[in-house]
Assembly symmetry: C3
Homo-oligomer: 143 residues x 3
């Protein structure tokens, strides 16, 4: 059951919030870390004030969403290089090449598993996409 360190250190859970206005309303974290695992919420292209950037611009929203994911991972002690899975949900399926291009620029050499699927909408009507991530941190003493 244990995934504790050989030296007896124990695993703890850390929750990380961000500037998204929806987190306190719905009751969720931007990221949760336990041991090597980091889970990141569905993340939209909002800026530090919680306002959406890139109106009608899926590429800009994707770029900002991945920036937000990067920041969340770093606050949790990880990085984009630790990402093992992303999920890309978008409103307009025709946006996939633009969103895919941004994903490729960020993850082209990291190569997490992924999925792209079109959905009907998100909590704000101007959100064209949300991206989720899951990471597994291979720490120094493991590599």
């Amino acid at each position: 059951m244990s995934e504790s360190k050989p030296d007896g250190d124990v695993m703890r859970r850390a929750n990380y919030s961000s500037h998204s206005p929806w987190e306190p309303i719905v009751g969720y974290s931007r990221a949760v870390r336990i041991g090597p695992h980091i889970w990141v919420s569905g993340t939209a292209g909002t800026d530090e004030k919680g306002e959406l950037v890139g109106l009608n611009d899926a590429e800009a929203q994707a770029r900002q969403a991945l920036r937000n994911i990067e920041r969340a991972l770093e606050r949790a002690g990880g990085s984009l290089g630790d990402v093992v899975r992303t999920r890309i949900y978008m409103v307009n399926v025709d946006d996939w090449p633009a969103i895919g291009r941004v994903h490729q620029q960020v993850f082209g050499s990291i190569r997490p598993v992924s999925i792209m699927a079109a959905v009907s909408g998100f909590v704000h009507p101007a959100m064209l996409l949300e991206i989720e991530a899951e990471a597994f941190v291979l720490t120094a003493d493991e590599t």
Copy 2:
């Protein structure tokens, strides 16, 4: 590779079923546990007879779905407090405030990562939502 206990105990897989009539038809479990990990299926607002509660009432369906998730986690030796990720899929995006309120009531202090996205439908036309969960149990000897 091993996540075995220091004392040599090994990890085993346990599958848990529930009253959902779809499990035997599609071939899935309500929950699977291995070591500290518990995965919970997409869960609708069905009661113990497998019948949907809360017709046209997303809030009631969300409440029942989370009750079902809680029961599944408990049967697997975990609890709502161990949940690290939820995913909320709903048919009508306008239901998000009502569903979000229920999520906040249950998870407001636990704060898993999450996502809310509107989809086109589920295996039963009266299902307004399904909620997934993933948990990581920090056992007594780890905290």
Copy 3:
């Protein structure tokens, strides 16, 4: 933090690609393995040339998608028996009984957790579905 073997072996990450033409464009892997964890991308019913099989035939696409998932798991040192979660996204909700039947044939005794939800579309308009998988390999020295 460590999930390293008692004998001091360390965990490494391995990425696996497949014949899907979308992987290099979007920058993702078919499967990623770290330790006992294997993550598999959203997988469509494409053949070894990357072409979709089963035009307008969700059952055929599901069968092929699961074959592709099986191959990815095997290349990563796992098998269908290790799958703990699947996710089935389909375009036409009325296809669920046919897709569910295929899932049952493959997973009826393995019983991962799952979800079936209808979405609006995928990166190719003829794709009727995508299936994701997550596996946890209980290795010989653990069972």
